[in-house]
Symmetry: C2
Subunit: 100 residues, 2 copies
């Protein structure tokens, strides 16, 4: 079963790594205890909505983006193929060009 | 501030309405108390990840889809424009055709 808190933890930890921030730094900015953030990142604790908003602020990422990333990870776990955006598919003229 | 539980409640209630289900019916299928589901739909209680998974099952919708819908609603609240997929933009040949 795809659990929201586990996927959310992965996405939040990945974002923190991207920024090169330590748990201590995020803890200071978000005013959340280091241990709590660590448990959230490991998917062991649910984050309240207020805490999630604080973490997104500290990680300088919109909540909507975090939720999209979690949705993508959950879709993979659910075995749902994330469709390729139409603009990234080969266009008919490209197919003709390569066949010529 | 865009709160996850509020947007989630809206999305879950909308899905229940689409299916024409009552709170009582969802409560029975998801094995969650009616009052609790009602509070979640009104954004007054946080749903645990396990409960969220049960609700998605009862509402016959993948968790990933619920999270995408929540992400879209949050993006609007954040004032972030959801980009139009490239395939839905006018294509250059369409623009030429209409100018001719």
């Amino acid at each position: 079963m795809a659990l929201f808190r586990r996927m959310l933890g992965d996405v939040l930890r990945e974002r923190r790594s991207e920024l090169g921030l330590t748990l201590r730094e995020v803890s200071g900015t978000a005013r959340v205890s280091l241990g709590y953030i660590s448990e959230i990142e490991r998917g062991q604790k649910e984050a309240s909505s207020e805490l999630l908003a604080s973490l997104c602020d500290a990680l300088e990422v919109p909540l909507s983006q975090v939720l999209r990333d979690v949705a993508d990870a959950v879709a993979v776990e659910e075995g749902i193929l994330v469709p390729t955006p139409i603009g990234q598919l080969p266009q008919p003229d490209q197919v003709v060009a390569s066949a010529a």
